[in-house]
């Protein structure tokens, strides 16, 4: 037996799957370009009518913000949270207990591997779109921080989706919980609107929640803000979310072993 190599092999195999699904990758990319183009145009109109700035974001900054916020969202499997819940509800997860590796770990590694090729493609398309429609960000060095931040953002999102979907171990009809999760990422995660543009009380609330690690952090960095503390916050949230997901899956697996799938 050798050193543990399932995390990188699982992620690598899943990445191969994502690349093999060329049709899905192409559709995600087309959808991404369309959404970013529309959002950038809307923000440009808003910024222009507001004297050249909205909540401290110029046209260039908000275009790069929208490009990155969408990239970290579109690159994820949009049905993932439902699929995890369905696998738990149908008992398919029980079969995964028959492997000598943690169910959650294998699933997260697989989801991460599947997401990263899409993320790379969306980020590349977003960069071209940003350069063509808005120009170079005000502080290009911030982009160097945005890249690892984007990877951390999708990792946080994937782990959090597993923690949320884990309610299916106890509650079969968990569809409303998943619906709520996605809306939280959209609004208080900063995917649609930068947190600074939210009403004061909502911004204060959003800053206390983990969702901002999933979109706002890399988007703000891509917008040209050199704020390395955002990366540290993402690492902290990733650790907390991993602990929460681990606890949910351990308790859920115990329940599955007692009451059956």
């Amino acid at each position: 037996m050798s050193r543990r190599r399932w995390p990188e092999v699982t992620a690598g195999t899943a990445a191969l799957r994502a690349v093999a699904e060329r049709g899905g990758l192409a559709i995600a990319l087309v959808f991404y370009v369309l959404v970013v183009a529309v959002l950038a145009a809307l923000w440009r109109a808003a910024v222009d009518s507001n004297g050249g700035e909205v909540a401290g974001y110029t046209v260039v900054a908000i275009t790069w913000y929208a490009a990155m916020a969408e990239a970290v969202t579109v690159s994820l499997n949009q049905r993932m949270i439902r699929e995890i819940g369905d696998d738990i509800g149908s008992g398919a997860v029980a079969v995964e207990l028959l492997r000598p590796a943690p169910v959650l770990g294998v699933r997260v590694a697989g989801a991460l591997g599947r997401t990263l090729p899409r993320l790379a493609a969306c980020c590349a398309a977003g960069a071209v779109l940003g350069l063509v429609t808005a120009g170079v960000p005000e502080r290009p060095a911030a982009l160097a921080l945005a890249v690892p931040s984007a990877v951390l953002a999708v990792a946080c999102n994937i782990v959090a989706q597993h923690a949320f979907a884990g309610v299916a171990f106890w509650w079969r009809d968990a569809g409303s919980a998943w619906f709520l999760y996605q809306k939280l990422v959209f609004i208080v995660g900063g995917m649609l609107i930068p947190l600074e543009a939210l009403p004061g009380w909502l911004e204060a609330t959003a800053r206390l929640l983990p969702f901002r690690a999933m979109a706002y952090a890399p988007a703000r960095l891509a917008a040209g803000h050199v704020e390395p503390v955002l990366l540290l916050e993402q690492v902290a949230w990733l650790a907390l979310l991993a602990l929460a997901a681990g606890a949910v899956f351990r308790a859920g697996e115990r329940r599955l072993q007692v009451v059956g799938g």
Binding site: M1, S2, W6, E8, V9, L97, P100, Q257, G260, G261
Partner: protein, 313 residues
């Protein structure tokens, strides 16, 4: 001992508070399986087969009783046990459809802690054993079900398990693919001494793969015997279905029971302890205007009914 089970019981509770209903899925089950045995574990739907397999593989806790699989208590040492058993559960694939089997094996090998050299050696070995090397580099979605099942078998054998749990592995396969799969299981057992624990609804799986059959119903063992003995007593019946091109009277045949006789079809039950199938077929082909003929095994439900009908010792 490969598997040792003593007085195993599993009770499920459904409903809430005052309306709780208790369902005993496994009831005082005791069973011993020896290393290298090929065991058929059979029973009708709802008999408790799947529940007991889930307990033996560690994914379900029993309500009471004891079990050891390869010396391990499955529900307490699940991951250690998982490294030593292989499982193939009906339609749940171990392979990824977008990938080739070889790519899936790479991931499974990593999960089972094999290094690259071990992975390559075992995949090559299984390609020879299962005569499936030409399939390993095709996308799984392009394989026929029979081809895929050979690749699935390789997937669950990759880590060289001591016991193979197979739950309805031949379901959906055509006749030739079924026969080939059964031969592979027997060969695997002969060459590797892998214990085979097989559940199936197909009586032919039991006859051609297993040395011993254990029948359970209502969660308890109702029959435990060598398949050779079972063949003499419970599996001695074959069904013959004959299509007729024109109405015709039946030749009188000893050891044959007529189940149905219409203008276009005849259905017979043949007791092979009394008459050989060959002699019955010869007689039917000579004496009737046959347009179609097939020989079938009796359904499992009929075998189980025969078990209940036996005189008790």
């Amino acid at each position: 001992m490969a598997i040792e089970v003593r007085h195993l019981t599993k009770v499920f509770e459904t409903g809430r508070r005052r309306a709780v209903r208790r369902v005993e899925a496994v009831s005082d089950l005791s069973l011993t399986v020896y290393p290298g045995e090929r065991l058929a574990y059979i029973g009708p739907n709802g008999a408790g087969k799947s529940t007991s397999i889930k307990i033996l593989t560690g994914i379900l806790h029993p309500t009471s009783g004891e079990a050891r699989v390869l010396g391990l208590v499955p529900w307490l040492e699940r991951r250690r046990l998982a490294a030593r058993i292989g499982t193939l559960f009906g339609q749940r694939s171990l392979l990824w459809f977008e990938l080739t089997p070889r790519q899936s094996y790479r991931m499974l090998a990593a999960i089972y802690g094999l290094d690259r050299a071990q992975e390559h050696a075992r995949v090559a070995d299984l390609a020879d054993l299962l005569e499936a090397g030409d399939l390993f580099d095709l996308p799984v979605r392009n394989l026929s079900l029979g081809q895929r099942m050979r690749c699935e078998l390789a997937a669950c054998m990759l880590h060289e398990p001591d016991i193979l749990f197979l739950d309805e592995p031949t379901i959906g396969l055509d006749l030739l693919a079924k026969q080939r799969f059964r031969e592979l299981l027997v060969r695997l057992n002969a060459e590797r001494r892998t214990t085979i624990f097989l559940t199936s609804h197909d009586v032919a799986d039991i006859e051609h793969v297993a040395q011993r059959a254990v029948v359970i119903n209502h969660g308890a063992v109702i029959y435990d015997s060598e398949v050779a003995a079972m063949r003499r007593t419970l599996l001695s019946t074959k069904l013959v279905e004959v299509g007729l091109s024109e109405p015709a009277p039946l030749p009188s045949t000893a050891g044959v029971t007529v189940l149905e006789h219409t203008e276009t079809a005849v259905k017979l039950s043949v007791d092979t302890a009394v008459r050989s199938i060959r002699s019955v077929l010869d007689e039917l082909l000579d004496g009737l205007p046959v347009s179609d003929i097939s020989v079938l095994d009796p359904p499992l439900e009929q075998v189980i009914a025969a078990i209940y009908a036996r005189p008790r010792a």
